[in-house]
Subunit: 200 residues, 2 copies
DNA sequence: GAAAAAAGTTGACACTGTCAACACAAGTTC
DNA sequence: GAACTTGTGTTGACAGTGTCAACTTTTTTC
């Protein structure tokens, strides 16, 4: 099977991204590192975008695994919190992959179906955890509400990570990485989930 | 003054970004459109990164103005909500600028001080709105708490926008742009802000 | 008007993605 | 066994890019 051959290129590509960022990735450099000609990578990826899409896809696979590995506790809130930690741990521990998934201009996702499938799969994991909360509250929730909640949770986590990165070099050292910050975040998120219908 | 000369290039650059995305921006294309030689832009910007940084800086200026233009109401919560709408309106109405600010790999911000200053200024506007809430609750809040809250709010908004863009092309059409979604989001955010210390 | 500064020009270099055509191994089919 | 397909790699080219260097023109300033 050709999968092994592909791996060689993906590994080299990831290495380059680690060293020089996504922008710095070039198929020619990949070829150079593997000691092959500059056209060899094109036998496995139709274009530069396709190898980036493959990197993103694999990142989503890893990401899904991390989310699924979160402790499955009885209390669905505790489970969601555990998943939240997994999310933030992943973002912190594998910044390369995280940035590939969420910080990169998505290549036209129509042209990269498998990448988008993995992306959707990851989202569904979160969706399911939220659904568990709703079921536990014995509220029959519409699908739209579920998406709404999931979006809220993911928004908060994703935005937190992004801004943590973005604001990393401000004057006053704002400690964002501490777990106190996480707990505060989770607390607020749970408040938002516990009381879904009320206002205005 | 040289500002006007610079403007010419910035405008052309923005036009190109609008048509072909940030990736598609090249100084040579800028020059071409202005009918000047390929080196002319280098008289105004030391490198391609510098013109991108300038685009980002100007976006932050606009962004700050939009945030400041939000209705200043008596109720600080209402004010924050108004600012939230301004935020989302900006993200929706000027996606180019928004993406430049938050969706682009920040160039080494040490090398682009003015860009970072504008970025900080925008964040401070939000910070002040949050501070008003705390003061209204007559809770003397530590600076760290303020940052924590501001991060939470911004996280939610930013993450919401990002995922709205990212998930735009899923199978089931999830209506994220509706104002019902916004209200639900704001409601949750306010819940998180009203009850700051309790858990665990 | 001369000096100085700002702005623009031409020419090169190394690098990139990608197209086209060719080379060569392994395996399959007749 | 011969012909053929398939997977992989190669060489060579082309246009496009950022950027350095040196030169020229325009504009501003005194």
């Amino acid at each position: 099977m050709g999968a092994d051959a592909k791996d060689k290129y993906v590994d080299a590509a990831l290495q380059i991204v680690a060293e020089m960022g996504v922008e710095g990735l070039s198929l020619r450099e990949v070829a150079r590192r593997l000691g092959v000609s500059h056209q060899a990578p094109y036998r496995h990826f139709p274009s530069r975008e396709h190898i980036v899409a493959e990197l993103i896809r694999r990142s989503f696979v890893e990401f899904s695994q991390c989310l699924l590995a979160a402790e499955t506790l009885d209390d669905p809130f505790a489970h969601l919190r555990s998943m939240g930690h997994a999310y933030l741990d992943f973002a912190q521990g594998r910044p390369l992959q995280y940035h590939l998934m969420f910080g990169t201009l998505m290549p036209q996702s129509d042209a990269h179906v498998e990448m988008r499938m993995q992306s959707t799969a990851s989202f569904d994991i979160l969706l399911q955890a939220i659904a568990a909360i709703r079921l536990n509250q014995s509220e029959s929730a519409a699908v739209a509400d579920l998406h709404q909640d999931a979006m809220f949770v993911w928004s908060t986590l994703h935005g937190f990570v992004e801004l943590q990165r973005k604001m990393g070099d401000r004057k006053e050292p704002v400690d964002l990485s501490g777990h106190g910050m996480r707990d505060a975040l989770f607390e607020k998120v749970e408040l938002g989930l516990r009381k879904p219908k009320s206002a205005s």
